[in-house]
Symmetry: D2
Subunit: 337 residues, 4 copies
């Protein structure tokens, strides 16, 4: 939900996704070849609990093809993220924590500001604010904590700035105002995302060192949260919690026609016509038919409330482990269960 | 959401709707004629704030064609239901109140049990429980209220029994248990519904004197709440808050193909094939493609939280006005704003 | 908060407590001797995480002196209950689970109905409903679960009936209605309590096999939940979450005067007068001064929201462990974290 | 709850109040005369729905005696604030709106930042955040609204910064950061307060042009929100929602002893001793007896959740009316019911 979140913005006529792994799939579909995209490197790894995919955009060519800034995009995928399974979740907290550490450079004295983006009144958009509730904030305890404990924690602050429809203020302005008071060494921004495939909903965590670029390329002037705009590195963490309805219809229809064609020779002329249509054109037709509702609909799973709570827990604890050097999983359970 | 709400049930291979007006539209599409269905009477009325449609199922033929019990189904439709507009909402409260009165037979001494069906943890399913929060309950005040006030109110009780996944108890059993203690003269059951058309979401209130038949015809054995099962008349009130994803895709695709055909002669063979496919068969294909997610997805508007709150207010106050003879809109504002 | 919860009831002119251990202390103060009360047996045990006190009321004499029914009252006391400390909480879950098992007689086929009393809209009264959210309900899964799992769980159902001010229905009537449909072998009722001492707030869990007797002796006619009224044994579990303001003032004043007297000889005449006043008379004076607010005030700790959530978790899991023979602490974490 | 809210601070050994009218009463008790305090002017007015009291602190002498900054403190008192009575609430919204206008200087182009102080997780402290939910924010709509509507609204933004225990950031720093980005012409800060008398809880609205001075004189170094610290005028609005337990006991005991003395000649020596004790000394004794709980307890009414919701509505709408020149009560109902 990075796009289209706060006020209505011009609709982007291509299937929507905030995931680099899906942007890569779409770009490959466009180039009609499974060859790796130019300027992009892909690394994958399978653990016993999840699939880890590292998409590295190396240069301007890769950035253009992918429609995303140069940098690292690491994705953790697992159906277990949707389950109520503390054992696998603890393992994934550790994995996410390691990747957060790998994507950032912190020293003992670093101050970190964690920012929960999104609207707490809309369940699938409330991931960021829910994570903030579970972050171990310590910045105000400096000088109060016993020296021994003080050594094992970094200085962490956390805010949920809300969305423009609630505050009347561009979210980036609030964050920039706070950053200029706090001078943190790192900003971690958490946001709910949109995916193209329903199977990835609530089953994917994406981390990136490129910042958060809400609505990139949609003619939307909202301020990007990155090193450029804030003056400090920004680590973005997100989970797709919704599929855009038009995207779902588009993809379902493609798969449906494929299946129908596979079963019959008839209709091949029509199928070819459909295939010859620009992807964008086809999508635009769906969007037109769904109008005026398209920007307002979302597709989400029934159990989204409970799952978002658990995902917030996983992400918050991964951050807690990554940021506080002396903290163990047992401490985490003690502090935040 | 009457269907498929509590535990997974076999999927019904036809576009899903809980609205009698949509069941009628579907039946007319099936009979490929806009002639009125046999055994069904339709009356419509346009007021300055809403469209009122009265579908009357007269006999077994009508009931079979419509897939719904014999009885009255009154629908209030208005885009204003989604807006934050107290003036039109007050008018619609009055209209709904009058139809509630018309569909029931109460005397001064009647006791009414209002039941809020649905799961309070899932926003679009929480309509019923939210209505219950705003019902003026008076049954426990009998003998305590001053005689003068006592005359202007009926004896009203209200419960939200939860859903089977939360309680482990068939919802109908809880209600039957309470009914047998209370011996009410009427049960009013409020529930969130599924519609076929996104335009009707949160823009429609359906009232019916036939009771609530969750999952009728889906091979689902859950207890129907009606005069038969509870021993007292049941008035059902509902608002569609979700569209089933497969239904949305099915309908969008139909409209899309129509539009494509209108623009070209090509593909007509394929189109004819699609048209020659049984509606059910086509729908089954979509459901298969969406599997294993189909029962779990729903499509709902972004602002569903705020709109459901307002709809709950409208319905609760319509019930408050209908049940308590001496209560004015000013009292309503005083008690429940 | 068992007393005075639903509608205003005549005020009881003695310091309020729902805890048997405090009723015993008060009775001893009355008899001005630390000798054990007649008809009462006391057993205490200190573990590494908590103090366990077993008050056994043996006969009518003990019942009269204590103002409580004949039976067993077991109290777990620990300051750690207020902390965010999963390790000690897991130990206390086990201890509570063992005492639940000890106070009840279940066999493999037993069905248990867990009832969460109290008003979910008032934080310190919401303990019961919050416990219900975390109970493993299984009754609806009978015949669905694989045989192997089915063996390790008992049939458990759970409801939060609300309070009379919300439903218009005597809470006992709702429960009796459901009991008559379900025919459980045991009812477990959870409720928030009032204590006399602030130090016991959120630091005490009381279990009793005598049922829940809301407002006993207060001229309050509400239905007691016990074997007599429901036809099945009732196990009551509660935690004190509030101190009544008049009780707090009364006790503080007593301690204050003691301290002032200890420091000076002056004022002893006044002190003696105060001492010669009937406890009840003194308390009545405080209640009169606090009027008309007395029934409406409560004293509670600032962090009550977070602490009640954790207490609900401890109690729910103690019940889950006690009821389901094959369930381990690891399963508990898996299902309910 | 301005004092002692965020982290534990040294306890102030005098009855606690954030209300100027109570600070004045206390100062008069100290000077043992009902003569007006030097440097203070009092004006009162009774309307048909409320009592309006204007305390004006004219100079340093008044400020010292009152323990509050020079400026205006206007209090609206009415038992009706606690009732569910829309008619009187609409009248009080108008009265509060007029006084807000009177205490501030705005022109057509003014930008206003409304700040909701307090912790949204603690019901009686959640007033500020709840008001923010109902403020008509318009700042982001500039240039989007039709010219006609644009004329009738001022530019309003709104934030709930949270408390230091949640964010790790001094609340004043967040606000100052946002103020430096927004450059508003006025800040309106809403906060829950502590009163001395239970009768004033939820029955009093205080407005002041002196800013918010949390914990003034308590040795607490937290940043004051006023023209000095923020560079723009600050209007403070607050409602007392809690009484500090030690204050309640102190005052109840005073009244109790008075009553006992009135009934008897005995004990007068003790009474004189109590009277001869310094108020501070007596209060310190109570605080010592209540330790270690004193900072953690609060006394609040049972129905605080519902009442705080309504108070938030009254205050938000008073602000909406005061800030937007072209807005009527009907618009208010339309936008925010």
């Amino acid at each position: 939900m990075q796009k289209n979140k706060e006020i209505d913005i011009p609709w982007n006529f291509s299937p929507r996704t905030d995931l680099a792994i899906e942007a890569r799939e779409l770009a490959q579909e466009e180039q009609k070849s499974s060859e790796e995209l130019e300027g992009v490197i892909l690394q994958t790894k399978q653990t016993n609990v999840c699939q880890i995919t590292h998409v590295k955009i190396l240069n301007e060519t890769g950035s253009q093809t992918m429609g995303k800034p140069i940098g690292n995009y690491i994705t953790i995928e697992s159906e277990l993220l949707k389950e109520n399974d503390i054992t696998s979740h603890e393992q994934m907290m550790q994995i996410v924590a390691e990747h957060i550490a790998g994507l950032t450079k912190l020293n003992k004295k670093s101050t970190i500001l964690v920012v929960g983006l999104g609207n707490w009144n809309i369940t699938p958009d409330a991931l960021g604010p829910k994570v903030i509730e579970k972050i171990l904030v310590t910045r105000h305890l400096d000088g109060i904590l016993p020296e021994e404990i003080n050594k094992s924690v970094r200085s962490v602050a956390a805010i949920s700035p809300g969305v423009m429809g609630i505050t009347g203020i561009e979210t980036g302005e609030i964050i920039k105002g706070v950053v200029e008071k706090l001078h943190p060494d790192l900003v971690i921004a958490i946001d709910a995302l949109a995916a193209r495939k329903f199977s990835r909903i609530n089953a994917t965590i994406q981390m990136s060192d490129t910042g958060v670029a809400p609505g990139a390329g949609v003619g939307n002037k909202r301020m990007t949260l990155d090193k450029n705009s804030l003056g400090v590195p920004v680590l973005a963490l997100g989970v797709p919690t919704v599929v855009d309805a038009a995207t779902l219809i588009n993809d379902t229809m493609d798969r449906m026609l494929e299946e129908m064609i596979a079963q019959t020779k008839e209709g091949s002329a029509f199928y070819e016509m459909l295939q010859s249509m620009d992807t964008e054109e086809k999508y635009r037709l769906i969007v037109e038919i769904l109008n005026p509702y398209v920007g307002n609909m979302f597709v989400t799973p029934k159990e989204v409330d409970a799952v978002v709570d658990r995902l917030a827990n996983i992400i918050a604890n991964a951050i807690n482990i990554a940021l506080h050097p002396g903290i163990t999983m047992e401490d985490i359970n003690r502090f935040t269960y």
